[in-house]
Assembly symmetry: C2
Homo-oligomer: 342 residues x 2
């Protein structure tokens, strides 16, 4: 909150993403006008001013200057070379208390590296994790880590469980989220060395409702609320899932188009299909959340358009407003010391 | 070949699988009668004799006695405790030259452990791998390892590439299969430690057409012919893929049933959908192949019915007939000594 009770704005990296800055500014306007989320745009003032003018939103959304930007193909190292990039300045605004959270559609590697460098890890959190939500019903399933920490230790997976539980509680109102470990068999002794040791630690961890191992085919069944895995496996699983759903739809379209009889049916169904595809669209979920830093960072899909950006701003404002960072602090602070390593 | 030029039979574990022995025997009858694949059934003679009688196939398919069987929930250790199990005897038949290959729908862990113990690894192969095929078109994509070796070393991934190339050449007539490494970014430096080191080794490996990294969403696009990964990641990816396709279909069915207008379309399309689902069905692919042992082992899906078993027998006979084991021997024999570790 700012003095006077007005909520702090979300710092939106206006230069990150395939469609920056046009769709990012459009998303900011949507967030402010349609969702009541205050936003500050971070980027090149001249360009952003012009974009705001086009929406008739001049003066409606403040701009903070950042002349540099990370390119989408720039990785983690660029964040060190560019202390004045739009994503770095956005993190800086959160750090000094001028913004509640960061939203960026920039390259994931760049956002993660910049976030770690500028916001630093929360007290007691060894490594951050990226949490995504899978489109299960009635409640989404939180999967983490989706790619922040490719080489994880078993102790980190226990921390990821705490991050995921906090996210499920704060973001989706789940009182006692059920936690599952992603591995390759339901028995405790199944998996690689990392998963087997993580299973032991999770089973003994206080404050985690650990239901045991789950497998790849359980990800979309809603068997658990939080899926814990290392950033390598989680990223492969997430992209495999997205690619497979896309494949199933495209095969289906092919099947419909091949058959004259089925074509009629396909036409009738087109609207329903579109609706379903929208629900499965990662953009509709608002974005991935980088957890474990001193500030909330939402990473929108690189190809996000205005709607996706507005959703990401709303998610960021909600998580910050509900205090996800202190919630994680409480949970990880309760982890026995032997599980924390630096 | 047996003396006289008749091909050796496939040794079929008649006691393995959720539907053993009924569907297994039915599959053997299909393999023999409809696909011209000679089969020998391994299991409890009384039970198998009775099943053959029901098909009017008495005397048509030989039976080799094995009174014990591995239960579906028995893991790797059971294979040590049960030297006279049906899967162990089936391996023994190959070992002593009385059968060309093994087919089992038993538990994957049990089949892998028994195969390793009874057939032993081929000269120069450090660890076996399970190869599966993904339903890309016009040609399938080979993915390995799908779960035999959960903790792999980078050198093993290079060997898996050789196993996969041999499988693609022998099984699917691909002259120079393109090999990709499954990881979490297209640049060489993306991934966990295992993937980064494997990338370096694959790029330098003679006899492998290495095209670089691929990601989860590339698995069903046919970008490469052989996907190499460790057994943990490969198993998670495969099961995620199967679960996601199943999910997309069930969501689609739900969408159709919810809408009265779309329902009509759905009815028209039902036959086409069934056809598509059949093509994506792992059973239709014939089964997974355990590569790197002194004998071909095909692991059919645990829930296989007669058609799946017959397909697995046909695949096993083809791979053995085309000499996949010596083909792997040539390839791995050409691996520089520094890449082989025991």
């Amino acid at each position: 909150m700012q003095p006077g009770g007005r909520p702090l704005p979300v710092a939106l990296d206006a230069m990150g993403g395939d469609n920056a800055p046009g769709e990012i500014v459009a998303g900011a306007v949507q967030a402010v006008r349609e969702r009541g989320v205050p936003v500050v745009l971070v980027g090149q003032p001249r360009v952003l001013q012009q974009a705001l003018d086009e929406f008739g939103a001049t003066g409606e959304i403040p701009i903070v200057r950042a002349e540099e930007a990370l390119a989408m193909d720039e990785g983690a190292l660029a964040s060190l070379r560019r202390p004045r990039s739009s994503i770095a300045i956005a993190c800086h605004l959160v750090r000094r208390g001028d913004a509640s959270a960061v939203v960026s559609a920039g390259s994931t590697a760049g956002v993660v590296a910049t976030g770690r460098l500028r916001l630093r890890g929360q007290q007691g959190v060894v490594r951050p994790a990226i949490a995504v939500t899978l489109p299960t019903r009635p409640r989404p399933t939180v999967l983490l880590d989706a790619g922040a920490t490719a080489d994880a230790k078993p102790e980190m997976l226990v921390q990821f469980a705490h991050l995921g539980v906090a996210y499920a509680q704060v973001g989706f109102d789940m009182a006692t989220p059920r936690v599952g470990l992603l591995t390759i068999g339901s028995e405790a002794e199944k998996g690689n060395k990392l998963a087997k040791r993580a299973h032991e630690l999770l089973a003994a961890a206080p404050g985690i409702d650990f239901t045991g191992n789950i497998e790849g085919h359980d990800l979309l069944t809603g068997r658990v609320d939080v899926v814990v895995t290392d950033g390598f496996t989680g990223n492969v699983a997430l992209k495999t899932l997205e690619g497979s759903v896309r494949y199933a739809f495209s095969e289906l379209r092919g099947t419909i188009e091949e058959s004259r009889v089925a074509k009629l049916g396909g036409l009738l169904q087109r609207a329903r299909l579109r609706e379903l595809r929208d629900r499965l669209d990662p953009e509709a979920q608002g974005g991935a959340v980088l957890l474990g830093l001193n500030g909330t960072v939402v990473i929108a899909h690189g190809s996000s358009r205005a709607r996706g950006i507005a959703g990401a701003c709303e998610l960021a404002a909600r998580l910050a407003g509900q205090g996800i960072v202190p919630r994680i602090g409480e949970r990880v602070g309760s982890t026995p010391r032997s599980h924390r390593r630096r």
